[in-house]
Subunit: 442 residues, 2 copies
């Protein structure tokens, strides 16, 4: 297999064993980008010379016998709303055509100091919030969206251009592209991973996460970010209690999404899991609307700098968000926070002897046609507002050959336990071998 097609965890092992150099890995990824970029358009900034320079620096560390971080040598894409010290950060906005913040975002600094090869900046919905869309296409069909707002990160990992990448989620910007691009994703519990240096849109919602091609990949980064709580015992699927949650927004499901959820449930059941329907308490019916209100009201302050500095080139939907401030309703916002607070405590309380993990859609269906849309975040917003960890796992192919995944959700701050559960469930839910996937791509 070409190095670029390796999952991160396998590449990391080969690099550690000196069976693969970081430069070889980097060159393979660059070749893949060259071959595919005209179609997939995942990158807003990519400097091959810089990539190779950094790769050789990492190889020197290996050669010197220095202590190697868990991500040593892994090419890592960075959504272009996240700052990088040695590359521009444009937020895909004409307001920031060539901004160089000169400092790594916290997540980039942590990845870099854990040995990651920061590869380039991936295309994104403007500000990860609205305005113009990414130019990136779905690796499985260029007439379809890769999802968004983490469009380029999802497409780059899905297209085997890099094994891992950072995304962000405020509504469904991280987990939904995972579903559309046939890849794995972790959206960690809110506040566990520093979001400093990632464009701010909503304090309560914005979350930095990462993509990989296996759960083992996601765990590599979880180790680098020291996610609690370690260590986790190995999980057995037999007897695992899975709550099948259609969620209060089930009315928005599409046939492909319904099939993915049903397939995952059946596969788990066949492997001995105890799958039981999970109806969320009535208060959760208001969560999608509460998320929208919180996102809009928190955004009204977050985008004021651009409103004052660059009104004529500000996207109308972001402009409207700032102008909400004029009719701000404190009582409604307080009610939305209070609803979310109550649901968080209720949700965490569901877990215990009767429930290990929640299985729920990662997207309404497969990737919609067209690049004017990034798909519908409705199946993600509730979990974002709950601030709980979510893991996306690939599941099925739709009738038109596009992937559709599901997500597993756990209680707040049990991220490593959720990853351990996902690692046990992944080979069952995602029963198409990794190598088979690439043959489907151009």
């Amino acid at each position: 297999m070409q190095p670029h097609a390796l999952p991160a965890a396998e590449a990391a092992r080969l690099i550690r064993d000196r069976a693969l150099s970081v430069e070889e890995m980097a060159r393979s990824c660059l070749d893949r980008v060259m071959a595919r970029d005209r179609q997939v358009k995942a990158w807003l900034f990519l400097d091959p010379d810089l990539v190779l320079k950094r790769a050789r620096e990492l190889d020197k560390r290996t050669a010197a016998g220095l202590r190697l971080g868990p991500l040593h040598g892994i090419p890592f894409g960075v959504k272009d709303v996240i700052d990088t010290s040695d590359m521009p950060t444009t937020q895909n906005s004409p307001i920031y055509p060539d901004t160089r913040p000169g400092r790594d975002a916290a997540c980039v600094a942590i990845a870099r100091h854990s040995g990651a090869l920061i590869f380039g900046k991936t295309d994104t919905v403007e500000f990860a919030a609205g305005g113009r869309k990414a130019l990136s296409t779905n690796p499985f069909n260029p007439h379809h969206t890769p999802g968004g707002s983490s469009s380029g990160s999802g497409a780059a990992v899905g297209d085997f251009q890099v094994p891992m990448a950072f995304g962000t989620q405020t509504g469904g910007s991280h987990i939904r592209p995972a579903s559309y691009n046939n890849i794995y994703a972790l959206k960690p519990s809110w506040s566990l991973v520093s979001r400093e240096g990632a464009r701010m849109s909503s304090l309560s919602l914005d979350t930095v996460g990462w993509y990989g091609r296996t759960v083992a990949d996601l765990k590599l980064a979880a180790e680098a970010f020291r996610l609690p709580e370690l260590p986790q015992p190995e999980i057995q699927v037999k007897g695992l209690r899975v709550g099948l949650c259609r969620s209060p927004v089930w009315g928005r499901i599409e046939p492909t999404g319904a099939l993915a959820l049903e397939s995952a449930a059946k596969r788990l059941e066949a492997a001995g899991a105890i799958v039981v329907p999970l109806d969320l308490p009535p208060a959760f019916d208001g969560m999608a609307a509460a998320r929208d209100l919180i996102s809009a009201d928190e955004g009204s302050g977050a985008f004021l700098p651009e409103y004052l500095a660059a009104l004529p080139i500000m996207p109308p939907d972001i402009k409207a968000r700032v102008e909400r401030r004029g009719s701000f309703d404190a009582q409604k916002l307080r009610a939305a926070y209070t609803l979310a607070d109550g649901c968080r405590a209720q949700f965490d309380g569901l877990f215990g002897p009767a429930l290990d993990v929640v299985l729920t859609p990662a997207s309404p269906g497969d990737a919609p046609e067209g690049l004017h849309t990034t798909g519908d975040a409705i199946f993600n917003g509730i979990w974002t507002l709950l601030q709980v960890p979510c893991v996306a796992i690939p599941c099925i192919r739709s009738a038109r050959g596009l992937p559709c995944g599901i997500q597993l959700v756990g209680p707040r701050f049990a991220d490593n336990r959720l990853l351990a559960i996902a690692e046990a469930c992944a080979p069952i839910i995602d029963n198409e071998p990794n190598w088979a996937r690439q043959t489907l791509l151009g």
Copy 2:
């Protein structure tokens, strides 16, 4: 009166009326800095040429008849944990000796686009969180602390070097220095003012606020930041219902702090306010501990980049915060969040016909002696965790001639109403005329 001694609102009016140029204002502030800096040491970065250049740019706007922002021409200090496009941001840390982020933090961008003259960077406790202290001294007595972590911002405004400055608060870093430096401060409701580009320590707690020398000054910036909800009717102190809240941490009060609270209450009562003791519900007894836990656990992720990149020069207290991650207790953290959530809703619910505003200590007493301490944040942490707006108002002088203020607190997102109440109460609580103050300083 020298221009540097003017409150911001008065200077802004004179500048708007072309009775004072921004350059004259800037030169007056620079003269004051020159005269006092050897003692007060408020600044980590101050470039007089840059200040004068920017001042002349602002004067050109005035001369051109352009629309002027609410802060037009007002010299504004910036705590050095907040990014500035044209100055370094060191966080008072040897880890970032000369970092130039090349981009304004959101609050700086908003102030700049509202006409503020970004004056320089003020000294701070390292990262606004721990490690080394600022070198700044209290303008009223150089052997005493100006408080912290917003040490330089508090001292610079208190010493009449600039009329306004930004601070931040995670525990009591913004309101407490106001009390020690005889100035006014607003800590806005959490999430209303973007904290993007201000050093992150705790997502739930970190809040950007500003200092001024009158409530009218605070309102100027509130207008620039479009704080809801406008417009507010004028408030009458007669009949105003004031809850006198000693708070669950009253055991930590000092005689000066007790006298300030009592004096404010008596003065308000004499002016016709209805002052009644307010005992917070029992759950609030746990808020101080909950704040400490949330601050520590959220900080464990926030400081991981420095831990990985610069461990040998990392302050031991910050290092310990990161290492907490090893014994992370999800259940305890969830319980702390749940307690805070419940108290927030309860607190907001206290306001109505029976309660207009809460009066409570801004600090245990006056500024302690020595620069090894920044004083005790115990009377601030509860309100920070409640995410409610707080306004500091000067109140008394202690036996040793040092100022001690109080704070007024309102429900979340009613920041403008709180400012309106503070504007009515300030002349009663703070009954020492502004001009009299400066004669007390060197």
